[in-house]
């Protein structure tokens, strides 16, 4: 067991695409943790989706041996944190497992919103920050300019900033020496009752739950009995060890150490991120601070394209939940879409990933309804309900008031785009909370925004309006009352619950018009006129008509090629089968998807 003063627990935090994973690859090489033969890009990103999207979803820890210039060999526990706003809580837990953070900034991009957000989290966790300008090998690199931004934000001295290239390896060794010098060793009490923080858990089909832990006080050993302080679950340690970078079993993990823990837990719910592991026989009095239940922010209905896939979807969700503790779901029925589930997600990315995994890993074809947030609805009878499905919103006369979740958003952008960004935020009902210059030409904007206004296309809009230069991060800040109404969509005079939405009263008409217009474009012409109406209560705010189909094929069927005609008809029949039948109207899959992209802005 390494002595505490020779341990350094640290992490790398960065904005997406600032080269964190590549830098981690170089560190693995320099410390010979991975042989040349085993090396592959983004070594620590284990899921396919992580590699494809270039983002880290799950935290990972790796234990490295680093022979420093002072002649001693240090044990590095390098913790890779998730890199997306949906996983802010997970990031904050991972940071708590560290004493220091390497803050990576791209030499050509400069400080971005996530850099700042992560920095704030790291400062809250009281970490020693080592600022690093990365990608200095790029032709467009402006390391001095970026260093100035860092000084401005962090108050660092110029000599405290490191310049590296994760690609070429330049400057990486110097950085590691700085980690030894500047990151303090852990200071837990080895004699106190055991307390270990779970900063991530994954599910393995063969071994059950694998938790990544930081032992804060005391120690944990093989076969000891442990207790999860939040969930109260008790288990016996089956295996304990470090990631080097693959699992290496050990007999014991002492105070200050980071490693993995396998204890026969079968579901991630029982080993929640943020929970404290203690010794069941000699339990700690108090858990480590800051645990909270995963809280879904965004909700959507997921329905199988083919009704008979419902059991398959249920099984897939049950399996997925084993390795995604944040995923919650319950059965739901839609008049339009049949049997499905309402799912709660940490955010939009979490939703996309979940859907992608369901389709890819379980081979399901799904229809998703528009994502929505959870509204707190105060009823006239005094009770309060949470509405996460627009069609569950009670009639207006039963509603006293509605509050919606809001977020504090941090936007960083070159100053020339401030005008357009303010317009965007205003259109999304944002309230400016503050603005200051990071450097002469880069500005930090803080806005309070309703979460519902940013879950659709806010990020895309932000990028489009700033030619990709602006960056965004946000955190939930509770509920705000708002004047909201339920907008219903009627196809052929029948309300279609899957298209209902909760929108701000002032924007409801425009939203309704945009949605009706979009659906008019997407619903193929039927044998009769199909009216499409948007309504608030009984008031129709928009009306479009899909005109009846006048003609199909009047072409020549030449030279007796009957086979071709029959195949064409078969194909058309198949196309019909792939549509959802709503009343007597056939609605294609794309209509549901496109409805997700309908905004509430005037065109």
């Amino acid at each position: 067991m390494p002595e505490q003063h020779l341990i350094r627990n640290w992490c790398v935090v960065a904005h997406i695409d600032h080269g964190k994973s590549t830098l981690a690859d170089r560190i693995l090489e320099i410390t010979h943790a991975v042989s040349q033969r085993e090396m592959r890009e983004q070594y620590l990103d284990r899921m396919d989706i992580e590699r494809e999207r270039g983002i880290t979803i799950k935290a990972a820890a790796v234990t490295l041996q680093y022979p420093a210039k002072d002649g001693k060999t240090y044990t590095f526990n390098l913790i890779d944190t998730p890199g997306h706003v949906d996983f802010t809580y997970e990031v904050s837990r991972a940071l708590l497992a560290c004493e220091g953070a390497v803050l990576v900034v791209d030499a050509s991009q400069g400080i971005e919103a996530q850099t700042l957000a992560n920095l704030h989290l790291a400062l809250e966790a009281d970490l020693e920050i080592i600022p690093v300008v990365n990608k200095i090998d790029l032709p467009a690199a402006q390391p001095e300019k970026v260093a100035e931004e860092i000084q401005q934000v962090l108050g660092s001295k110029p000599e405290e900033i490191f310049f590296v290239s994760g690609k070429t390896g330049e400057g990486v060794e110097e950085l590691l020496d700085a980690v030894v010098r500047r990151v303090p060793p852990p200071s837990g009490d080895p004699a106190a009752p055991t307390r270990a923080l779970i900063f991530d858990s994954t599910y393995d089909a063969y071994r059950g739950v694998i938790s990544y832990v930081r032992v804060v006080d005391g120690s944990m050993s093989k076969r000891s009995s442990i207790r999860m302080m939040a969930t109260k679950a008790e288990h016996s340690v089956e295996e304990i060890g470090v990631m080097a970078p693959d699992q290496k079993p050990m007999d014991e993990l002492g105070a200050g150490e980071v490693g993995y823990l396998i204890s026969g837990i079968k579901a991630l719910r029982e080993a929640q991120v943020g929970d404290t592991v203690t010794d069941a026989k000699r339990p700690a009095k108090e858990a480590l601070p800051g645990y909270r239940e995963p809280k879904p922010m965004v909700f959507a209905g997921l329905y199988p394209m083919q009704g008979d896939d419902y059991p398959a979807l249920r099984d897939a969700l049950d399996k997925l939940r084993l390795n995604d503790a944040a995923l919650i779901y319950e059965p739901e029925t839609s008049k339009a879409l049949g049997f499905g589930f309402r799912l709660g997600f940490l955010g939009l990315l979490h939703m996309e990933i979940t859907r992608e995994r369901l389709e890819r890993e379980f081979n399901l074809e799904l229809v998703a309804t528009a994502p929505t947030v959870g509204y707190r609805v105060q009823l006239t009878n005094g009770s309060e309900i949470i509405v996460s499905n627009p069609s569950d919103m009670p009639d207006p006369h039963l509603v006293e008031r509605i509050a919606e979740p809001s977020v504090s958003a941090l936007i960083l952008s070159p100053k020339e785009y401030i005008g357009t960004l303010m317009e965007l935020c205003m259109a999304r009902r944002g309230v400016l909370d503050g603005m200051h210059y990071l450097s002469a030409d880069r500005v930090e904007l803080r806005y309070r925004l309703p979460l519902s206004e940013i879950i659709f296309d806010f990020f895309d809009q932000l990028k489009a309006r700033t030619r990709g230069y602006a960056s965004l991060d946000y955190e939930p800040i509770g509920y705000q009352p708002a004047d909201l109404v339920r907008l219903d969509l009627l196809i052929n005079a029948e309300p279609v619950d899957a298209f209902s939405a909760i929108v701000h009263r002032e924007k409801a008409s425009v939203y309704g018009r945009n949605l009706a217009e979009k659906l008019r474009e997407l619903i193929p012409r039927q044998m009769f006129d199909v009216p499409i109406q948007a309504a608030i209560g009984s008031k129709i705010v928009a009306r479009e008509t899909v005109k009846a189909k006048r003609k199909d094929v009047l072409a020549k069927c030449y030279g007796g090629d009957i086979t071709r005609k029959r195949k064409l008809l078969e194909k058309q029949k198949e196309g019909k089968r792939r549509m959802k039948q709503i009343g007597s109207v056939e609605v294609p899959q794309e209509a549901f998807i496109a409805a997700l992209r309908v905004g509430s802005e005037e065109k």
Partner: protein
């Protein structure tokens, strides 16, 4: 008053027991909308190709019990661009193989610019008794848009020449709905067509097929797609003008004295298709040849590319899909029997699109325009 079954059989009963389709894959130029199996500049192959047709005919005759041919249809392509002597001698050979019923219909397709008097007279003399002229439009503007090389005047002349050559069964093909064509131009085309008093008129909606010049133009945004609503209006104009002129509407796209050969197709009848890419339906098997004319000329009896034998259910579905095109209508009893279920509820759900009179179901004016939809709904 005829019975329902008789009325439903009216046009269908004119279909011969067996017919022969001959594909001539040569054209003087490729029209930008055409996706038929035709080639420009391949005419030197013609003698060998025509000889190969006869070989294939002999193969059919030797392998199958075939009724005496009640129709021949020499299509393409532009059969009239070939030496008429060659065409006539090929026809003679085919008749010696398949025979010819007493009232046998022998059609040759012709482009107006190839209809000179002596050629037509020769063909008529050789036994051709029906000429199908691809006039397409009587607006020179539309003809140009369609990439046709002839003028409206050439079509008028061709019909006159055909009459002079002794053809008492002349058909005229028209295409409607070309982007750029106006309602007035289409109206005039119909009126001029009627004024020529052909015995038969076909009207087809321009359809953009992939793999054609128009297909590429539409895909690249150089040309708009034909407008469904415009084409619907044009079709209704055709219904009005042609019925007012006394042409009997017997098939969705066809008016006048029925083409007995084409009736074979709509009644699931038997036909041998000779030539590159030709389709056949003999002894319940649909088969088709590979498309390459050179390969065909070399080995006409080894050209089969594919075939299919439909099961009873598929056959019933196909029967219904085809028979719906015949304007006389469908006997619901017979259709239900073939489909193995009562079609009446499905038909009754199509109010305004089909009309039901006792057991006879016919497409309404609206229904004619969406026959595919009706076919899908009745056979789903």
């Amino acid at each position: 008053m005829s019975t329902v079954a008789e009325r439903a059989q009216h046009a269908a009963s004119l279909a011969p027991a067996f017919g022969v389709y001959v594909h001539v894959p040569f054209c003087p130029s490729k029209c930008p909308y055409c996706d038929f199996n035709t080639y420009v500049g391949l005419e030197p192959l013609a003698p060998a190709y025509l000889h190969a047709l006869v070989c294939e005919a002999e193969m059919w005759k030797s392998r199958h019990e075939l009724a005496e041919a009640g129709s021949y249809f020499i299509g393409g392509g532009t059969p009239t661009m070939l030496d008429e002597h060659l065409v006539a001698s090929t026809l003679k050979d085919l008749v010696s193989i398949f025979g010819a019923a007493e009232d046998c219909e022998v059609t040759v397709e012709a482009n107006p610019e190839t209809c000179d008097a002596s050629r037509l007279a020769f063909l008529r003399e050789a036994g051709v008794n029906r000429l199908s002229i691809g006039g397409q439009s009587f607006s020179n503007n539309v003809l140009q848009l369609l990439g046709r090389r002839h003028s409206a005047e050439a079509t008028r002349r061709a019909v006159r020449e055909a009459r002079a050559a002794g053809f008492d069964n002349v058909s005229l093909d028209l295409i409607f709905g070309m982007p750029g064509e106006t309602d007035a131009e289409w109206n005039r085309s119909l009126i001029e067509a009627v004024a020529l008093e052909p015995d038969h008129i076909s009207c087809y909606a321009l359809t953009i097929e992939s793999g054609t010049a128009f297909g590429a133009d539409v895909a690249a945004g150089r040309m708009p797609s034909p407008d469904d609503d415009v084409q619907a209006v044009r079709y209704e104009t055709a219904l009005d003008v042609l019925s007012a002129a006394g042409y009997r509407h017997y098939e969705i796209s066809n008016w006048g004295l029925p083409s007995r050969h084409n009736l074979i197709y709509w009644t699931q009848g038997s036909y041998a298709g000779l030539g590159a890419g030709a389709h056949s339906h003999v002894d319940g098997v649909r088969s088709w040849n590979r498309k390459n004319p050179r390969a065909y000329a070399e080995s006409p009896t080894a050209m089969r590319e594919g075939e299919e034998r439909l099961d009873d259910r598929e056959r019933a579905v196909e029967w219904l899909q085809l028979r719906l095109r015949l304007v006389d209508g469908i006997d619901l009893n017979e259709a239900s029997k073939r489909m193995g279920r009562d079609l009446r509820p499905a038909a009754e759900a199509l109010g305004g699109i089909v009309s039901i009179d006792g057991d006879l179901m016919t497409l309404t004016r609206r229904g004619l325009l969406i026959e595919n939809e009706v076919a899908i709904r009745l056979t789903a």
